[in-house]
């Protein structure tokens, strides 16, 4: 009774759960222009996922799988349907497709195919003989992530498949869009995007290892003694506010075309029909870097305990927005900015 009353009071005064505060980009997350100023920059429209396997760098964009050979990029193969994500699998490359199949391309297990029947694979990881898969939502396909967020769903799952045969087994459900997974031995950490946190899934109940990120966390990959995390979209006060306005959200989803929603996106500012916020008004012909934005480029270096130690950014006026994947390869950090369709490489200072 008291809890219901205090929630009502909160929603009236804008405190507690109704508060729309977003943590500041400070400390290890302090904004910079590292992704914009990257010396290496390849245009690759639609690039979504990167994987560094056996000294080679692979990139997936739509139905195409490409590989870097030195500074040259060449297409390795084209699949039926889109590629959902890539991961290393026993020294080879595993490719998950949007139709739910997982195919091992190279390495000792090359040629193996598993049909998971999942329709929203967002990320996968292999540990030993086990393949772990994130299914972002049981309601929507991966491309409809904005809709899933705006409907405030939490129907994401994590599945486990024994590579030596055996039935897929669901090990977690009710997650808010699991979009990244890292598996080491029996430890499993998943990024739960809609709740802006990383959770450990060792036991029955998820245990947060890092919460209240200032963005929506996506894929995680191990890198040395830590990890790299791609944060595919920034949080903003306006979106947080809209998420707490059910009537407006319902009508927006029903009446407004999706590119023009007030929702985080991989690339904002392409059309004058998109929402504009006060701080984003151009002054003297210039968009300020600190302007509120619905998209940005953002990846975070985490230590072994999943705490941020450094970050790479592309701010409101930047040109590498919507980083969906980041890997370390050949002493450099490679980031796939899907929003701008570019792959950039930054020297890894660690």
């Amino acid at each position: 009774m008291i809890e219901r009353f205090s929630r009502l009071l909160d929603s009236f005064t804008g405190r507690g759960e109704a508060a729309v505060t977003v943590p500041p980009l400070d400390g290890a997350l302090r904004a910079n222009r590292a992704l914009d100023e990257a010396a290496t920059r390849f245009a690759m429209p639609g690039v979504d996922c990167l994987a560094s396997v056996d000294g080679r760098l692979y990139a997936a964009a739509g139905a195409a799988l490409a590989e870097w050979d030195g500074a040259q990029r060449r297409e390795v193969r084209r699949v039926d349907g889109g590629i959902a994500c890539l991961a290393e699998c026993a020294g080879g490359l595993a490719v998950a497709l949007e139709d739910g199949r997982v195919m091992v391309e190279t390495g000792p297990r090359a040629g193996a195919v598993f049909d998971t029947r999942l329709r929203c694979i967002t990320a996968m990881a292999v540990s030993g003989n086990t393949l772990f898969l994130c299914n972002g939502s049981t309601e929507h396909a991966a491309g409809d992530w904005q809709k899933d967020l705006m409907e405030r769903r939490a129907t994401g799952e994590v599945w486990r498949i024994d590579l030596d045969g055996g039935k897929p087994e669901r090990i977690a459900k009710g997650l808010g869009w699991p979009a990244g997974i890292v598996a080491e031995g029996s430890h499993l950490v998943v990024s739960e995007a809609w709740k802006h946190r990383l959770v450990r899934l060792d036991d029955a109940t998820p245990v947060p290892v890092h919460s209240d990120l200032p963005g929506y966390p996506g894929r995680i990959v191990p890198a040395g003694d830590g990890y790299w995390l791609a944060v595919f979209a920034p949080r903003s006060q306006l979106v947080e506010f809209v998420l707490r306005e059910p009537a407006y959200r319902r009508r927006m989803v029903a009446e407004v075309p999706r590119p023009y929603w007030i929702a985080p996106t991989l690339r904002a500012g392409r059309s004058f029909y998109e929402p504009l916020q006060g701080g984003s008004v151009k002054q003297l012909g210039m968009l300020k870097p600190w302007a509120p934005t619905l998209s940005s480029g953002f990846c975070v270096r985490l230590d072994a305990r999943f705490q941020p130690v450094a970050s790479l950014h592309s701010r409101a006026d930047g040109v590498a927005h919507g980083v969906t994947s980041v890997v370390r390869h050949g002493g450099q950090v490679w980031a796939a900015a899907k929003g701008d369709g570019v792959v950039v490489a930054v020297e890894d200072r660690r």
Partner: protein, 704 residues
């Protein structure tokens, strides 16, 4: 959904939400809590003692109140200038004994007694004033000392004259009149207090002397810096306080005729309680006669009521002390939180149902194109925010900037510029009159004229105040664009009466009819409001018939035509009801049509929010202004339309690279000159079809 929208439409039409913020922004709102306490006290005592408020009791009480109110007003004046006068009680007693001694011992005539008594009070006040004002001693300690000294003088006078006073008989009707007589059916002292309260109110709200006192109390240093004689002002408040305290003593003497040793003891604390309880700030700068009156009535009722109920004297003082404590606490909290409350409730959006926006894709007259791509950039990075541009007969360009200058770019290459005039406000719309003077709407100032000799002259900065408006809408806050009728009358728009210049996009969140169109008639020198309740009226342009003008309502996304003369005089016709964006300035084109600047484009998310006022209101309260949803004023275009409202063409800058943000455009000799309020350049576009000799001045004034 339709039902909800109908409900919302009526709810926002009938309930004036914006009044809450406007009332809170008034200064008199500070009286709310004191008035509430007064009503509470009246209610409490009238239920406890039903006979307390009968005619006889009130008549007796009000005579006492008249004297007490004079003391409270005296203290209020000193407090307003940032000081405090604890000697009012002693001065009151001094006035009493002096008046009695003069009338009965010295046998002076009544007028001389009055003057003598007031002079005594003034002398005490002067001592306080010199010590506190000129020698800058602490007000509290100084007046505490004068309290003791004056009290000692009173005791000495008592010792010498009390027997003579008690023994003498005063044979003067004039002497008894102030204490026992009635004027206009009211006790004399009440009339005196009432008249003085009104005078004091007028002085503090309407006169220079009163404003000086308020300024000194608000910030002594700032008052000194702007040249107010701080020492003299402070000194004079003490003198006035002393005179009024002595006057109260005189009234007291006339009423009771007795010189007792306990006269006026503890009165300063009661008066201080009343002043603070009424809402007069102890820190100075905030207070009024009304507050003093409210406070004095409250305290008077409490003190007398408690005595009549039978509360002992000690408990009475204790209660009064507690009330003073509570009043100070409430005063501090109110002062601290009023602005927070105001900032939360001031923005009050209303229901705004815009017609469906026309498409901007292939096939539409508004289709996106690249016609503005060849725009030349004039003064790139050399001008800050040219909202409007205009050209003279010698082809020089004039444009206002953000720092309040009118900049002139010299023909023919426009690489050289000079400050043509400095206005101090934010120059917006411009027009040349028949004599070649430049008329400018200046945001924050009003309508101004810049003569050919570069003198800046005010034409008007106020219009008639509307009777039902809570905020004072007589002053012009945001004069926006103007045009001149053939007979010289100037019609100009004031975009909003609720926001200042730099907050203009916030008015979009409200989208209420906050704006108006005003006419200035130079022949009569009069200004009056022509059209009210317009949704951010912006551009104004005379039509070629000389009887009407077109005006744009920015947040209403429409262009209308108003007839000020001719058979249709007084009517408004909507010409373009549904624009895909937010219209700004309108100007004539050389072929008899009109140019219209579209400052920003409508976004579906904002259009939806416009139909959900509650959403916008909560947004304004919950999130930072930089994060608020705005109209998309980063992309704009130029539209040309004819008299019937038919849109003829649209000019876009597809990439938004050459000319982002368009608020105005002006055709001149075959070129179109483009301005933007947040821009750093003036655009110039060659028009192939346009008459290469046509200028705006010729079109208006038919000069060769």
């Amino acid at each position: 959904m339709a039902l909800t929208e109908t409900y919302l439409r009526w709810r926002y039409r009938l309930v004036p939400d914006h009044l809450a913020g406007e009332i809170l922004s008034k200064r008199w709102i500070d009286n709310t809590i004191p008035l509430f306490i007064l009503l509470l006290v009246v209610a409490a005592f009238s239920t406890a003692m039903p006979e307390f408020f009968n005619a006889a009791s009130v008549g007796d009480l009000s005579r006492q109140w008249g004297e007490f109110a004079l003391l409270v007003l005296a203290l209020m004046i000193v407090m307003l200038a940032g000081g405090i006068d604890l000697s009012v009680g002693s001065t009151f007693a001094l006035g009493n004994i002096v008046a009695l001694a003069l009338i009965s011992v010295a046998g002076w005539p009544m007028w001389a007694v009055v003057l003598g008594t007031l002079a005594c009070g003034a002398a005490v006040g002067l001592v306080n004033g010199v010590l506190v004002g000129y020698l800058r001693l602490r007000a509290f300690l100084t007046t505490l000392v004068t309290l003791i000294i004056v009290r000692a003088i009173v005791d000495m006078l008592l010792l010498k004259y009390s027997v003579a006073i008690a023994g003498g008989f005063i044979d003067s009707d004039a002497w008894y009149y102030p204490g026992e007589g009635y004027l206009l059916g009211m006790p004399f002292s009440v009339v005196v207090a009432g008249v003085l309260a009104i005078v004091i109110h007028l002085v503090f709200s309407r006169s220079r002397a009163g404003w000086h006192v308020l300024a000194v109390g608000g910030s002594r240093r700032s008052a000194h810096n702007v040249g107010i004689p701080v020492k003299r002002v402070i000194c004079s408040t003490y003198v006035i306080s002393g005179i009024m305290a002595a006057l109260a003593g005189l009234l007291f003497a006339s009423r009771l005729g007795g010189a007792g040793a306990d006269t006026g003891i503890g009165l300063e604390v009661t008066a201080l309680t009343a002043a603070v309880l009424g809402g007069n700030s102890l820190g100075g700068g905030r207070g009024s006669a009304a507050k003093a009156i409210i406070g004095s009535v409250t305290v008077m009722i409490m003190v007398n009521g408690l005595v009549r109920i039978g509360v002992s004297a000690g408990a009475n003082s204790l209660l009064l002390g507690l009330v003073l404590l509570a009043a100070v606490a409430i005063d501090v909290r109110w002062l601290k939180n009023r602005h927070k409350l105001l900032s939360k409730v001031y923005v009050s959006p209303t229901f705004m149902d815009l017609p469906a926006a026309p498409e901007t894709d292939e096939g539409s007259i508004y289709a996106v194109n690249d016609k503005l791509h060849p725009v030349e950039k004039i003064g790139l990075d050399a001008i800050d925010g040219p909202e409007d541009v205009i050209l003279d007969e010698d082809d020089n360009i004039y444009a206002g900037n953000r720092t309040g200058d009118i900049i002139r770019f010299f023909a023919p290459d426009y690489t050289r510029q000079e400050v043509y005039a400095h206005t101090g406000g934010r120059p917006l719309g411009m027009a040349f009159d028949r004599a070649g003077n430049l008329l400018v709407c200046i945001g924050g100032m009003g309508l101004y004229r810049i003569t050919k000799a570069r003198e800046v002259e005010r034409l008007t900065d106020e219009t008639n105040r509307s009777w039902l408006s809570v905020i004072d809408d007589s002053r012009l806050r945001l004069a926006d664009d103007l045009d001149i009728a053939p007979d010289g009358r100037v019609f100009f728009s004031e975009a909003t009466v609720r926001y200042e210049m730099h907050e203009w996009p916030v008015d979009c969140l409200e989208s209420r009819g906050n704006g108006r169109i005003i006419c200035y008639d130079p022949n009569k020198g009069k200004t009056h409001t022509v059209l009210k309740n317009l949704v951010f009226p912006n551009g104004i342009c005379m039509s070629h018939d000389g009887q009407s003008f077109f005006f744009a309502e920015t947040w209403g996304c429409r262009v209308s035509r108003y007839y000020f003369d001719g058979p249709k005089a007084g009517t408004v016709e909507v010409v373009i009801p549904d624009l895909p964006g937010y219209p700004d300035n309108i100007n004539r084109a050389s072929d008899g049509t009109y140019w219209l600047a579209i400052v920003g484009m409508r976004t579906p998310s904002l259009d939806l929010a416009m139909r959900m006022p509650g959403f916008r209101r909560r947004m304004a309260r919950r999130i930072a202004p930089d994060e608020w949803l705005y109209a998309n004023i980063n992309t704009g275009c130029v539209v040309r339309f004819d008299e019937t409202g038919r849109v003829l063409e649209t000019l876009w800058d597809k990439g938004g690279e050459n000319h982002p943000m368009i608020t105005s455009m002006r055709e001149h000799k075959g070129h179109l000159y483009i301005g933007g309020i947040n821009n750093n350049r003036i655009g110039r576009l060659k028009l192939d079809w346009a008459d290469p000799d046509w200028t705006g001045s010729q079109s208006y004034w038919r000069r060769s």
